[in-house]
């Protein structure tokens, strides 16, 4: 090997060594910093816990120096997301005094997506409704994680003005996942219901489906006529299924008759299967005879759901199952009825045994 080659090799080895030393030093420094921060957090946590029931310690926490506060701030924010009732107020006071809300407001405009996500999360935890317009603007953020955080925060703010932007997040070019939107819409309460009922007429199918599900979970009886219309006329099967589930949850006296209209052979199988299950959830004994006849129907899942729904209708449902188990509707229906009655007995015995063992 010539001298140039040796020099290159030597330089490479020295560079690698220096780089290795630098990386090790960086890791050691970071580890030491983390360990110091964790020790500091451990020391200060009891003071934060005391704050939840003793606002007298607030000045002591407000006066912490920057390093100590940096150590304990994650605990305060984590607790704020996990406690309710009187314990929330002192945490909000502390974060406000420490300027965390102001800092989060600046963070909403940060260039780094991670900072925007954390900032919008803190704004939501602090329920700062005056920041709603800025949070709404983040629903159109270029990064999906920021849009999801903004949608969750709109739920956390529990302000009905968030309903339209949330629904808008389902049909725009940068969408938010439907389950996130649905969860946040549910948190907005009754004041948002008129906007959500309107959304049942939205041209975008996902918006109609999510609106139907949310209204069902909210038990919004006023949506009944529109939900029935969606179930009967909508061009999209997922929307019809969402409307069906919503009707079952809403549970008006007229619901059973509507659902019974969709278990027949003229409806798509998916609707028939969902309707058979929904009739059990609804619990109206008026559906018992129809469910009994479904035990002899195909597909398998339809008859299975009908058998479980009959169990949920109480004595009348069990009487029908017993008759069908005896062969009144043929052997295939009898198998479903026998299986449901056996399952009911096993469950009943298991619960009874657990209750006996627990007393």
């Amino acid at each position: 090997m010539n001298s140039v080659g040796s020099a290159v090799m030597l330089a490479g080895a020295v560079s690698s060594l220096v780089l290795g030393v630098l990386i090790t030093a960086h890791h050691l420094t970071s580890a030491r910093r983390r360990s110091r921060r964790e020790r500091e957090a451990q020391r200060l946590r009891p003071l934060v816990f005391r704050l939840l029931s003793d606002p007298g310690v607030l000045p002591e926490l407000v006066a912490l120096d920057r390093r100590a506060w940096a150590a304990v701030e994650p605990t305060v924010i984590s607790l704020l997301g996990n406690v309710s009732g009187a314990a929330r107020e002192p945490l909000v006071d502390l974060l406000t005094h420490r300027g965390v809300l102001d800092s989060a407001r600046r963070g909403l405009r940060a260039r780094r997506a991670r900072v925007r996500v954390e900032a919008v999360h803190v704004v939501g935890l602090l329920r700062s409704r005056e920041d709603l317009p800025r949070v709404v603007s983040l629903m159109r953020d270029s990064r999906p994680e920021v849009r999801v955080a903004a949608a969750r925060t709109l739920g956390g703010l529990a302000d009905a003005r968030g309903a339209r932007p949330l629904l808008g997040g389902l049909s725009c070019s940068r969408p938010v996942p439907p389950h996130v939107v649905a969860h946040s819409l549910l948190a907005l309460g009754t004041a948002a219901h008129p906007v959500i009922v309107d959304a049942l007429r939205h041209p975008h199918a996902t918006v109609r489906a999510v609106a139907a599900e949310v209204l069902g979970f909210g038990g919004v009886v006023a949506a009944f006529p529109l939900l029935v219309r969606l179930l009967r006329e909508d061009a999209e099967l997922p929307v019809r299924l969402a409307a069906l589930r919503a009707l079952a949850r809403t549970g008006t006296p007229a619901t059973a008759a509507v659902l019974i209209g969709f278990v027949g052979r003229g409806s798509p199988d998916e609707l028939r299967i969902a309707a058979a299950e929904a009739l059990g959830a609804l619990g109206d004994p008026a559906a018992a005879d129809t469910l009994g006849f479904l035990l002899a129907e195909e597909p398998h899942r339809l008859a299975h759901n009908a058998s479980r729904s009959l169990l949920r209708l109480g004595d009348h449902g069990r009487d029908i199952l017993a008759r069908v188990a005896g062969g009144s509707l043929g052997p295939a229906a009898a198998v479903h009825a026998i299986e449901a009655l056996a399952w009911n007995q096993i469950t009943h015995e298991r619960l009874a045994a657990a209750a006996r063992g627990h007393t």
């Binding site: 816990f49 029931s53 605990t75 984590s78 996990n82 406690v83 009187a86 314990a87 929330r88 627990h358």
Partner: protein, 124 residues
């Protein structure tokens, strides 16, 4: 002194629960996962267990079910603490034999009241 085992994987919540229960005069053992909870119950013989539902390794529901299946712990009071607040989740909690079900976000004062109420029911 009444002994309580807490299983919660979130260190902040776990430490808060420990702080509140000790402040209230309980003897507390805290662990961060399901298997450790079973070990702690076996060694500490507590009067009550508080279980987070979603923990690594073994869920609080699984731990509760195991406790109910063992002769020595089948009557041990269990409170489930969880962010899962749907009707079906609560039904599952009671289905595995929990004595009470507290959803997050929770009020620490309310949780303490529930601990006392459950212990009063079993005559501690």
């Amino acid at each position: 002194m009444t002994a309580v085992v807490i299983a919660e994987d979130d260190a902040d919540i776990r430490d808060l629960l420990v702080f509140k229960l000790i402040q209230d005069g309980f003897d507390v053992t805290a662990v961060g996962d399901g298997p450790a909870a079973l070990d702690a119950v076996a060694t500490e013989c507590p009067d009550l267990v508080i279980l987070d539902v979603m923990m690594p390794g073994m869920s609080g529901l699984d731990v509760c079910q195991r406790l109910r299946s063992e002769q020595a712990t089948k009557n041990l009071p269990v409170i489930l603490l969880t962010a899962r607040a749907q009707e079906a989740d609560i039904e599952s909690g009671f289905g595995v034999g929990a004595d009470d079900y507290v959803t997050k976000p929770f009020s620490p004062r309310e949780l303490l009241s529930r601990v006392h109420a459950v212990l009063a029911r079993v005559g501690q």
